[in-house]
């Protein structure tokens, strides 16, 4: 029990430290401004379309899909920028040892940092909750769908940030960490396209299930559903990334 308490305490300390570090570094503001500009662009564009009755045959239903859908894709450029120096710095300096009296375990460092960067991104997402208010003000959108759309987006952000953390643990070069993060994210977007080229049910099923569109767009964003398999996808991917990051950090330790 005390062990769990100690871990929680350590995580909290790392989270606080890293979280506040972000807000005094320019990168968070740059990424945040980019995020706000892009989502603002897509949102106001969608409002323009709603005003005109939409492009489609039966009109356009007001929803956040037209904003969150492109932003889910663009996240792969924004998230790695936040995470690219997260662990490589740590490897270089080992600062946490100084912060805490008790020795820190590798997984605590990784998870703490991940939670911090996820927290930072959550702030960005929270600001855009202004947009659904516009929808409610001028129309009657599907509230459940907005909720699941945002919830899923938040989970996807956590996942892609975890992958970024892993990328940053693998290499101490920030640019390479950025590219790795982006590459994995891109794979997660395009896997089902690869799957549709393969004439084998098993492989194409696996590739489809690896695709984020399957678990986010087709389920949470467009249908207002939260299903166990979607949660398992995000949690599973995050867990794998964080575990591998921990192992990598660990390996560097005893190799050194």
């Amino acid at each position: 029990m005390s062990d769990v308490n100690r871990s929680l305490h350590t995580l909290w300390t790392i989270f606080k430290h890293e979280f506040s570090l972000y807000w005094i570094s320019p990168i968070a503001y740059l990424v945040g401004a980019a995020w706000l500009f892009l989502s603002g662009f897509f949102f106001s564009r969608s409002i323009g379309a709603f005003n005109q009755g939409g492009f489609g045959f039966g009109g356009l239903e007001p929803s956040m899909s037209y904003t969150l859908s492109p932003m889910a894709f663009l996240l792969m450029f924004l998230a790695p920028a936040l995470t690219m120096r997260l662990v490589s710095d740590e490897i270089r300096s080992g600062t946490h040892e100084l912060l805490l009296t008790a020795p820190v375990r590798d997984w605590e460092v990784i998870v703490g940092k991940w939670l911090a960067v996820w927290g930072v991104f959550s702030v960005f997402i929270l600001i855009t909750l202004l947009y659904p208010l516009v929808l409610v003000w001028r129309g009657s959108p599907n509230g459940a769908q907005i909720f699941t759309g945002y919830f899923g987006y938040w989970l996807w952000a956590g996942t892609i940030l975890a992958i970024g953390v892993l990328a940053s643990a693998v290499t101490q070069y920030q640019l390479i960490a950025f590219m790795i993060g982006e590459g994995v994210a891109l794979f997660l977007f395009l896997a089902d396209t690869a799957g549709s080229l393969v004439n084998n049910t098993l492989i194409s099923t696996v590739l489809t299930q690896l695709t984020v569109t399957q678990h986010y767009q087709n389920s949470m964003l467009d249908r207002g559903l939260v299903s166990a398999v979607d949660l398992a996808y995000f949690i599973g991917l995050s867990a794998i990334a964080l575990f591998l990051a921990t192992q990598t950090l660990n390996m560097r330790r005893w190799r050194a």
Partner: protein, 840 residues
């Protein structure tokens, strides 16, 4: 030494690759086993297992020494533990995910439907039905690639609750047209249920439709849908364009069988009826038949009414359409849209006799000069002669085809003449009832008027409107030999009435543009004067002194003194509220009778201009439509639907519908899939604003919306002569052409559609239009109570954009969202950065 190291490195690399490949292969095998099950036919599984085993064995065998070192040495132990942990954790996560995936695929874990739309969660009723399945059911969903997601989500739930009895697969009809043809799937989005050799269809993947089809296929025996007969309804034996043979074969696949039902003979609806269809009756149902339908509906039955415009109380009018006096003026006969001709005491207005036999509207009547016989002309294309001493039909005169507009008995009693849609005047010998040798007399257009000269030697007819062109001619022939006496074009618009002057020297013709033509019978000369250009002349009669009595399109009657040259001398009589179909002067010149589309026959006193009698002769209305109106709050319009917006697809009176109710289970699938349906000559069907207690009415389909005059229901002149155009009497679009009604207390259901042709062979042949789907959806909904299931359609609560932003707030929003917010963020960042810099 160097060489040895190289070999070692290569060997190291090799064994790690082997291990990697082995582990991946084992993972694949594991996932495969979970996802596709341990299936001995799947070679993939064996290959993967073999590769996995070889990889691991290879890893050990290549360098057994290092294995033992790894297990004993300190660094080696660390690495091994780390490696094993990694393998273990990754495997555990992948296996867990695969398990969750499998449970999801089986439908064991349902997704959490946050909006509670009910779209992806099954009702207990469906789960009970799935649990009680005894024989396996297979569902084949036909979807083009990438469109089956919604269907699969739901079908998984069905499979998961069926204890393995239900299976499904998704087939792309483009890739496997053979299977689509075998199961009769004509379009993407259709689902076919099979149990044994029975099939049922769902046209849409929502719970209501799927469970409905499931019950149908499990029930086994096809359900009986009775098709009413005896009133000119469409028939399943009719393979022509207007027939319903195609409907039968389509419904057969959906597990319905169409059976004919003669309600007069059976007296009540058979107990095994799943529903009753009344498809385009051209004559009215009798009250006992309505009573039988009422009893059936009150017992929870269901009825589908397909009502064509102009049938029963429609088109030519609500009520009375024609009239004639006997030559002694004692009797008055009227012709009615209720399919009867009636004989009245002309003095008292008492009904003497009602003659029934026509299968549709009776349009005109004429007495024989001795008052013993009556001839009637009908919309059913027949001319019939009746014995007035006993009220029996004597014969049906042969030769006439198509709607008969006018019939006359010659003043000398020797011949009978009729004219109508078939563009000819038929003349019969009134003794033998055989056509005269020269008959028929042909003209260039459908005819609206025919008249004998006072001495019976001449016969005249006036031309109407043929498709596109107008024939404003007046024709005169010799009755004796059929030779043409005159043929002169006096009008540029259809001639609605003609009459000889009492002395027989002139023929007057009245046209609907308000012109009155005069033809000198002896010389063949003619002239035309324009009298009432705004309203048109629809009826024409003479008193013996030459006074003209003119009925006008606005329902007024003008009495013109003989020799008058302007309209200022007219005596104007008003009373009717709609145009007058026919005007007849009572012998004796004291009275005349008018029949109007307002439903009244009025007897007028010429001396004081008052209405002496008002006979609402045939104005009971169609009993079926009256019943639908009073008991169900469904109003079937006496009109014709015109849609200019979709006119380019067929024509303006063949509206193409793409606006549907998004809530009704009948039309929701059509709405969601943006399907189109088309209707050939349709009438409006509207739900009353306040339906009777306990009734829920839903308007199902609408014509195009848009500017006034884009679509409307033409009430002023559905089949007549005026140019069709939108005016204020018409019902403005979008016009509802179908309504469903449900009685909460009795569970009775009706659907009324303002057209029978939409389900005819002609319409169902089209694969572009979803008319067949509409028919099946309608029957599925109607019979749902019969099957004991009532699953509400999923309600997604359509999101709407009610108050669009105007330019100014839109600009503020654009600037705020794309510039202001990011800028604020950047400024804060800059300030923070600056402060930190200064502190350092």
């Amino acid at each position: 030494m160097i060489k040895d190291k190289d070999v070692r490195i290569n060997r190291d690399l090799l064994r790690w690759i082997l291990l990697g490949v082995g582990v991946v292969a084992l993972l694949v095998a594991l996932i495969a086993a979970i996802v596709i099950g341990v299936d001995p036919n799947k070679t993939v599984l064996y290959i993967a297992l073999a590769v996995g085993a070889l990889g691991i064995v290879g890893f050990v065998l290549i360098d057994p020494e290092s294995i033992s070192k790894a297990l004993t040495g300190r660094t080696g132990q660390q690495a091994t533990i780390s490696l094993l942990m990694t393998i273990f954790t990754l495997t555990a996560i992948v296996v867990l995910f695969s398990l969750v995936y499998k449970l999801d695929q089986d439908g064991t874990i349902s997704p959490w439907d946050v909006g509670k739309s009910g779209q992806y969660q099954l009702h207990q009723q469906t789960i009970d039905i799935l649990n009680s399945l005894e024989e396996p059911v297979h569902i084949t969903g036909f979807y083009s690639s990438g469109t089956s997601d919604d269907a699969e989500l739901l079908l998984k739930q069905y499979r998961g609750n069926s204890n393995g009895k239900l299976t499904f697969d998704i087939v792309d009809p483009d890739k496997d047209p053979g299977e689509a043809a075998r199961l009769g799937a004509t379009r993407s989005g259709m689902l076919v249920f099979e149990q044994g050799d029975r099939t049922a269809q769902a046209t849409f993947a929502d719970e209501s439709a799927l469970t409905g089809a499931l019950v149908k296929v499990v029930l086994g025996e096809p359900q009986k849908a009775y098709l009413l007969t005896g009133h000119g309804e469409r028939s399943v034996d009719d393979f022509a364009n207007q027939g319903f043979s195609q409907a039968q074969s389509q419904l057969d696949r959906a597990n319905y069988s169409l059976e004919p039902l003669n309600l007069i003979e059976s007296g009540s609806i058979p107990a095994d009826a799943a529903t009753v269809i009344i498809a385009g009756p051209t004559a009215q149902l009798s009250q006992p038949e309505i009573d039988a339908l009422t009893a059936y509906l009150d017992g929870g039955g269901s009825v589908l009414v397909l009502s064509d415009p102009g049938a029963g109380g429609g088109s030519l009018g609500n009520g009375v359409l024609g009239a004639a006096y006997s030559s002694d003026g004692r009797l008055l006969a009227t012709a009615g849209a209720d399919g009867t001709a009636k004989i009245w005491d002309a003095q008292t207005g008492q009904e003497r006799m009602s003659l029934r036999g026509h299968t549709s509207d009776v349009i005109d009547v004429a007495f024989s000069p001795n008052e013993q016989k009556l001839v009637t002309a009908g919309r059913d294309g027949t001319v019939r002669v009746w014995d007035l001493t006993n009220g029996q039909e004597i014969t049906e005169l042969q030769g006439q085809t198509g709607l008969v507009q006018r019939v006359e008995w010659s003043p000398d009693g020797s011949t009978i003449a009729s004219a109508g849609q078939d563009q000819v005047v038929n003349v019969w010998d009134a003794e033998t009832f055989e056509p005269m040798s020269y008959s028929p007399l042909t003209t260039a257009s459908p005819l609206l008027a025919v008249a004998y000269s006072p001495d019976g030697s001449l016969i005249a007819a006036g031309g109407g409107r043929t498709q596109g062109a107008v024939d404003g001619s007046v024709y005169v022939w010799n009755v004796a030999d059929g030779s043409e006496v005159a043929n002169r074009t006096l009008h540029t618009n259809p001639v609605f009435a003609i009459a000889f002057t009492p002395d027989g020297s002139e023929l007057k013709s009245a046209a609907i543009d308000g012109t009155l033509g005069t033809l000198d019978v002896a010389t063949g000369d003619g002239n035309t004067e324009t009298l009432y250009p705004d309203v048109g002349i629809t009826g024409l009669g003479f008193l013996q002194d030459g006074t003209q009595v003119l009925a006008l399109g606005d329902g007024s009657v003008h009495i013109r003194p003989a020799g008058s040259t302007s309209t200022t001398d007219d005596t104007v009589l008003t009373g009717h509220t709609d145009l007058i179909w026919k005007l007849v002067v009572r012998p004796g010149d004291e009275e005349f009778t008018t029949v109007s589309r307002d439903g009244d026959a009025r007897v007028w006193n010429i001396a004081d201009g008052d209405t002496r009698l008002r006979l609402q002769a045939h104005n009971t209305g169609d009993p079926l439509l009256t019943y639908l109106d009073t008991a169900w709050g469904i109003k079937v319009g006496d009109d014709l639907v015109v849609d200019q917006a979709t006119a380019q697809l067929f024509d303006a009176v063949t509206p193409v519908i793409f606006t549907y109710s998004a809530t009704s289970p009948i039309t929701k699938p059509l709405n969601d899939a943006q399907e189109r349906t088309f209707f050939i000559l349709a009438r409006s069907v509207q739900a009353q604003a306040t339906p009777p207690d306990g009734i829920t009415d839903t308007a199902l389909m609408f014509t195009s919306s848009g500017a006034a005059g884009t679509s409307w229901a033409e009430t002023t002149d559905p089949f007549g002569t005026n140019q069709v155009s939108f005016d204020e009497q018409d019902i403005p679009g979008p016009v509802s052409i179908a309504v469903s009604g449900e009685n909460a207390a009795t569970q009775g259901r009706v659907v009324v559609i303002g057209d029978a042709d939409f389900a005819s062979n002609q319409a169902l042949q089209s694969t572009t239009y979803a008319n067949g789907q509409l028919l099946i959806n309608t029957l599925n909904w109607l019979t749902q109570n019969e099957n004991g299931i009532d699953i509400p359609p999923a309600d997604l609560g359509t999101a709407t954009w009610d108050r669009p932003l105007s330019a100014a707030p839109m600009a503020i929003l654009q600037i705020g969202a794309t510039c202001l917010l990011p800028l604020i963020f950047l400024v804060i960042g800059a300030v923070v950065w600056f402060i930190r810099r200064r502190r350092r």
